[in-house]
Amino acid sequence: MRQSWILLSSLILFCALWFSNGVSAAACCGGGAAFPSLIIGDEKAQLTASYALTDVAVASVDSNGVWRESSSRPQIQSFNLEGAHILADRWQVGFSAPVQHKSFAQQTYSGWGDVSGRIGYEYLPDWDYHPWRPKGVGFLQIRLPTGKSRAESDRGGLDSMGSGFWSLGLGSVLTKARGAFDFLATAEIHRSLAKRFSNSQMAGELRPGWGGTWGVGAGYSLQHVRFGALLTWVYEDPVEVRVFERFKGVAERQATASLSVSFLAGREWAGTLSYSDQTLIGSPVNTSLGRSLSVLLQRRWGR
């Protein structure tokens, strides 16, 4: 039972990190909403470092859903440092600080992704056993515009490392373990704020809207090893661009399928290797699609 909880915590952490890591950013430089790293188990604190390598397999999917590949494919490397710490018994705070490095057509760009902070609350504790009631953690998140929006880029989005907007989000994670199996469901909604911009070619205003992320996952544990699968969907409202003309924009949609293997070394260290693919499921529009390989290392401190 204890082993199951340890592996389940690893699953949740992996899933949480995956939302905010290179997979979302592979969608042309912008990417979907960040998802927090949350403490699900009995830890007091945790710190996680991850690295992802993304190959942009489909350069663009236009507003009509037409896929176009390019003979030259961008590559994206993402580094992410995330942490969480318990404030009180059921309250916690966390942060995510991603950095990206893009290479395309003999050009390279590096910079911060969307740095975010969050407050979490365990609104559905698991103090006593229940066959069906899940454990639930909710969170409030603020995202900083440290990653440039692709609409304001004068490099066609190549130097865009995130959404580039201030945004406020609300979300939840539900988890449940049954024997060697575990299950996960997530949902998050956010509102991004308008901003003025100026680059070498134009100046004006960007007006984003609402966005959201949701996902389902499951896993199977064998002693210290867990095999997991996760499906996530991301949606973003159109970003209206007001420059010399008003461009209404197009909504963005993408979906990601992921497989992972996690290993626990005692109660303090965990590692995960995962593969994700955005070309397999969903009906994407207004995005690029990538395939990613990532590794993650986590250190935990008990209460």
Partner: protein
């Protein structure tokens, strides 16, 4: 027992959600990027056509690629601003005091590309170089006549890269 019953439902849902991509026609590789100078702006005045018109002044634009861009290298094109003579239908260049600017815009993705350099080659004749499309798809080549940051006149050329 319940999990065994749920498995077929979940598998069906996943398969039903599988992506069904629509693919554009494959772009053919270009053995030679330099375009034959037998048409377009290098043709005689009577052969030039009004490819697009400026929205405010109604002036015509005729254009042709000089070096076509690829996925990794920028290209260049030549364009002329003028009018069609009502008598002989010849294209007559019009001198502009303002040096036009060229903006590449991808409406389906909501972003532009790298800056384009424009140089004057003669009366009403210009060359746009460093033309680079960051990804394939439908693009707009916007030729603008600006005063400072204000666009006074503009025409749009549709181009699929």
């Amino acid at each position: 027992m319940i999990f065994k019953n749920l498995a077929p439902i979940l598998i069906s849902a996943v398969l039903g959600a599988c992506a069904n991509p629509k693919e554009a026609a494959e772009l053919s590789p270009m053995e030679s990027r330099r375009v034959e100078a037998n048409a377009g702006v290098n043709a005689g005045a009577s052969s030039k056509t009004c490819d697009a018109r400026f929205g405010t002044s109604g002036l015509c634009v005729t254009w042709a690629w000089d070096i076509k861009p690829t996925a990794e290298e920028a290209g260049s094109f030549v364009f002329e601003i003028g009018q069609i003579d009502s008598n002989d239908q010849a294209f007559v260049n019009v001198e502009t005091d303002i040096l036009p600017t060229v903006l590449l815009w991808m409406p389906s993705m909501g972003h532009g590309s790298t800056p384009v350099a424009v140089t004057r080659e003669g009366a009403g004749r210009f060359r746009a170089s460093q033309v680079f499309f960051v990804m394939p798809g439908a693009w707009e080549i916007r030729i603008q006549l600006k005063e400072g940051a204000t666009v006074r006149d503009e025409t749009v050329l549709d181009f699929t890269f």
